[in-house]
């Protein structure tokens, strides 16, 4: 799997609540290469979040397998998954990523604290990362004192602090205006170049899609096609 970092095969996810059965994913395959920005796009309800959650080990598929860098995470127990996520996967959600009572630097340190890294080391690493990402002037701010765009950048800083194999983002620009969305994408590209992080982004924001090297198009839980970012925008800009 040298160049391949994610390989998901034949993912099926069925939600059963009472008599209602929803097939959120219906035989989806996905691969991601080391260091790429991969988009998962599709209309609301197409299964983007579901797919992302399964790749990230937050949810289990009804059927199918997910490999991340040779680890078959669909076989892991709940507790093993927690450990796996901590070391290997970064998450950035649409909003409310940060712990409100903690400062920016403490939020960035969080995964390191959970790993048991010493106080001094984690503060140093978090500060370095914030400095490299141009966020150090916000280190002691509370999340509520930041703009939406800044909050997302801090969340990205936190997601990459453990040097994870992949960073999963669910609608990272969903709460941002287009100006901030563009800036965030520039930021993501910078991070990707600097640290070689692999990003998998679920979105229907054309600003995001445009920057993706490849994009998977989903509809009703099914894989439709794979395009490069610009082509996807041209074809599906009305999503």
């Amino acid at each position: 799997m040298d160049n391949l970092i994610v390989k998901a095969e034949n993912l099926v996810k069925i939600y059963q609540s009472g008599k209602v059965r929803v097939k959120a994913l219906d035989g989806v395959n996905l691969i991601a290469h080391r260091g790429e920005i991969l988009g998962i796009i599709g209309p609301s309800g197409s299964g983007k979040t579901t797919l992302l959650n399964i790749i990230g080990g937050l949810d289990k598929p009804t059927k199918g397998t997910v490999f991340i860098d040779n680890t078959e995470i669909t076989k892991l127990s709940e507790e093993e998954l927690v450990k796996f996520r901590l070391r290997n996967i970064g998450f950035v959600f649409q909003f409310f990523n940060l712990i409100p009572s903690l400062s920016v630097v403490e939020n960035v340190e969080l995964p390191l604290a959970l790993l048991g890294v010493s106080r001094i080391e984690r503060r140093e690493l978090a500060s370095t990362t914030l400095r490299e990402l141009g966020l150090i002037h916000r280190a002691n701010f509370k999340p509520s004192e930041l703009s939406g765009g800044e909050q997302q950048r801090v969340a990205i800083a936190r997601a990459i602090i453990t040097n994870p194999k992949i960073v999963l983002m669910d609608e990272p620009t969903g709460n941002l205006d287009s100006e901030n969305a563009k800036n965030l994408m520039k930021f993501i590209e910078k991070v990707q170049e600097k640290y070689g992080v692999t990003f998998i982004i679920a979105t229907h924001d054309p600003i995001v899609v445009r920057q993706c090297e490849r994009a998977y198009i989903l509809r009703d839980g099914r894989f439709i096609e794979e395009l490069n970012g610009q082509a996807a925008v041209n074809k599906y800009s009305k999503l």
Partner: protein, 419 residues
């Protein structure tokens, strides 16, 4: 694994970000702890005081009294215009001649008689203890004379006064103590000063020769109590029954019984106060549980994020238990400080009249139940402080258990799905 400092830091920051709620929760624990702490300290105060008294007063094994009630005119009414702190003596006296009969009982080591009478120094009530020098010490134990000497005659105006009263009156050995008995002034030569360690006791009890007291009160041949020391204290019960069978009007009380009664009362008091305190603390515990549950519900997303980025359910559990611990510690410390103040303030609002009830009929109070206002000084010990702190923490942790468990069960996908 996360370190303790990180847990503490995050807990403190979170509690600080909800100041009002946290303060109210801390207060709800503190109230219970304060109550418990002050009540225990007060009970300790009563206990140590009465323990000192009993130790000082009870080397006699049996005390004999006449339980026949007389109308108060036999006692000594308070002089006009004085505030009567002490109720007049209402028990009949005993004929001194009985002493000889009792002394002949085989197992008795020594017996002596005692007359107690109320008197006044200025307007302050005191109790004159009329004793037979030499005999009294054999039965009841020696007074701790710190200055001068003990009484030396049977019928002379000598007096041994407590240290506290001496200081109050600014008297010294060789001086004259003026007292009022039956509206008559009597002058006594102060020959000695004793110390007992219990201020109230020293203020109240003044020792004079028995016959002198009998003469000035017109009670020749009469005594209030006969004190008995046995060869073998184990015989106390049988000797007491025997005496009572010969003299049905008299009551023979075992000192051990008095001690038992006192300690029983104290343990009842302790249990009672402990129960009140614990109920208050349990109420505080519900306060903690409530606050923590609200916190858990408010922080669902936060917990979801933590779980997503790799916090184990154990870590979440620890985070919330740490908050409970911090609340308990703060509540405990605040409660102890408040309780400390309360322990000193409470007695002023509830003039405690327990002393004579705790020691029913103790000779310290003139041989008959008397209601006396005394203030209780709380006794604060490290044990009590630790107990209060530990109870605060334990109650808080128990209260936090369920909310923490709820928090640890939160599934990230469920709470992160919708805005």
């Amino acid at each position: 694994m996360v370190d303790v400092l990180w847990l503490l830091n995050t807990a403190l920051k979170d509690l600080f970000s909800r100041k009002t709620r946290s303060i109210l929760t801390i207060a709800s624990i503190a109230i219970g702890i304060a109550l418990l702490f002050s009540l225990i300290s007060l009970v300790n105060g009563v206990e140590s005081r009465s323990a000192t008294m009993i130790r000082q007063l009870t080397s006699a094994d049996i005390i004999i009294r006449n339980t026949t009630r007389v109308d108060t005119s036999t006692g000594i009414p308070s002089p006009e215009g004085t505030r009567g702190f002490i109720r007049p003596i209402t028990l009949s006296l005993i004929n001194e001649s009985i002493l000889q009969n009792i002394e002949s009982i085989e197992s008795i080591y020594y017996a002596t008689s005692l007359l107690t009478t109320q008197a006044y120094v200025d307007e302050t009530p005191i109790i004159l203890q009329g004793v037979i020098p030499g005999e009294y010490e054999l039965v009841a134990g020696s007074l701790n004379i710190i200055n001068g000497r003990s009484l030396s005659c049977l019928n002379c105006p000598e007096v041994v006064v407590g240290k506290s009263l001496m200081e109050r009156l600014n008297l010294s050995v060789g001086g004259t103590l003026t007292i009022t008995v039956n509206n008559t002034q009597v002058y006594l030569n102060v020959v000695g000063v004793y110390e007992s360690g219990v201020q109230f006791f020293e203020m109240m009890n003044v020792y004079v020769p028995l016959y002198f007291l009998q003469n000035i009160t017109g009670r020749v041949g009469l005594v209030s109590e006969i004190l008995i020391k046995l060869k073998n204290p184990g015989d106390a019960q049988s000797v007491a029954s025997y005496i009572q069978s010969i003299y049905p009007d008299l009551r023979a009380t075992l000192q051990t019984a008095q001690i038992q009664q006192a300690s029983q009362l104290i343990s009842t008091l302790t249990t009672f106060f402990l129960t009140i305190g614990l109920i208050a603390i349990i109420a505080g515990g519900f306060g903690v549980a409530n606050t923590m549950l609200i916190n858990v519900f408010e922080r669902m997303r936060e917990i979801g994020i933590l779980r997503a980025i790799g916090a184990s359910s154990r870590t979440i559990l620890l985070m919330f238990l740490t908050e409970a611990l911090v609340l308990g510690l703060f509540g405990g410390v605040t409660g102890i400080c408040t309780g400390f103040i309360l322990a000193y303030i409470l007695p002023n609002y509830f003039p405690i009249q327990t002393a004579s009830r705790i020691l029913p009929g103790s000779r310290a109070f003139g041989g008959s139940p008397q209601i006396t206002q005394i203030s209780i000084t709380p006794v604060i010990t490290w044990d009590t402080i630790m107990l209060a702190l530990i109870i605060g923490v334990i109650v808080s942790l128990l209260a936090g258990l369920y909310p923490a468990w709820r928090a640890s069960r939160i599934k990230p996908i469920e709470v992160l799905r919708h805005g």
